[in-house]
Subunit: 248 residues, 2 copies
Amino acid sequence: MEHAPWSKNGHPVAAYWNMGCPNANAAFAELIRVSRRDMRARCVMQLASERARHVFLPFAGWLVAAKVDPDGARQIVDFVLPGDVFDPATASTAIAAVDVAAVDNVQLAMIPRKAWHGYLETHHAAWALSVRQTAAGYGRMAERMLRLGKSSAETRIAYAICELCLRADPFGLVADRAFHLPLTQQVLGEYVGLSSVHVNRTIRAMARAGVLDYHGQLEVIIHDLAALAAMAQIDPAELRAAIIPSPG
Amino acid sequence: MEHAPWSKNGHPVAAYWNMGCPNANAAFAELIRVSRRDMRARCVMQLASERARHVFLPFAGWLVAAKVDPDGARQIVDFVLPGDVFDPATASTAIAAVDVAAVDNVQLAMIPRKAWHGYLETHHAAWALSVRQTAAGYGRMAERMLRLGKSSAETRIAYAICELCLRADPFGLVADRAFHLPLTQQVLGEYVGLSSVHVNRTIRAMARAGVLDYHGQLEVIIHDLAALAAMAQIDPAELRAAIIPSPG
DNA sequence: GCCCGCCGATAACCTGGGTTAACGCGCGTC
DNA sequence: GACGCGCGTTAACCCAGGTTATCGGCGGGC
């Protein structure tokens, strides 16, 4: 992993949010400069129902937005990938709806919410991108809710793999059909609403069926994309359009 | 139900979105005037993955945002209540993420998306309200996702009743603890991810336990709010803050 | 008036996935 | 090098909730 990627204008995340506008570039760089952080895996940065002070913008590594129920079971509401900006605020904007934590080691910016919203109000292209990101997040949650409510374990897991593969792709993390999810089976289970044991059963069965291959820590190789998409009950192109915020 | 409520300045939904500003008032009234509709129960106004042309603003009656899976099972992603503005667009903003349909008979405005977004850009208070509504919707989905993924039937249903009671309240539809949900048990099941049979089993058990009372078509009376909140695993005040977009 | 379709209510039966427990492996610590 | 711990893997058991079927009531259409 490269060193301090946000300091480089050429970093894909910076380019994504600057959108080539030198004016925005300076303002954005200043926002980042003062709010960059490194966090270790599992570090919790925001607790649900505490004050929401920052939006989160990872440059490298993944975050989770999650809720924990009284018995300690965790449901992951969404992953936050490099380039995504995540605002945990609820209706009463001072309070966070969810916990935010690092999945793996993360380089990110924790930007004060007011500063970020000020940036959006004065930089129209960034604002428009933010609107598309929000809509994309809504689309993802709708898709996942459908599967959480109605679908078999196989469908849920196949869908999660498709979704995360698509989302990981824009920043070139995916070579062909082989890619790395920085997730334990436990965490994947918290995402799709299954126990880690059943995640294991299901993934193994998919591997046995020749649909995909994987090695520890979810190093995934998709062998039969058509079959995987069928299990996930999606059309890859359509899902991409619904779920990936296109820049520009 | 009163006649053509949108034509009256005093209508609570209009007041909510005008926020007393006479300028906004006129612009808002014009938006509504040209886009108002009446729809019968179950009428579908938007199909997922078709072009998203309108935002939906009900004045009376409820809408659903839902997805249908290949076997025809429907998952309700969110309800749209009087005063809520719902934009079904995805990441590629031309396409809708979800179906939108009327739950019961509905009086609403179907406002062209561009016109609505233009209104928001030129009326700051309305824009701020819209941001809070979006955040509230996110908070609701996060809460419901937690329960879809992890919780028992009892918890899911108790939560749904609490949520819908809170949301129905702001427009004075709730007298004490008695209120009406315009839902069949089938529809409630599609909301919480349960079969209608199991919804019935669970609600009956709750009634037998003295927590609530109800009569056909979900005419609900809450007898023991504390017990219901405990089942739902919520604190009512906290949930309200997270989920209800306060005006102003 | 009759018919029909929708909804609530229940019972009987079945299964997908949770739970628990046990084992092996790789990695970091001391 | 020994130990501990997190993770993947598998097997055995069990139950919450799905499925199917049946019945009664109610409202709407003709």
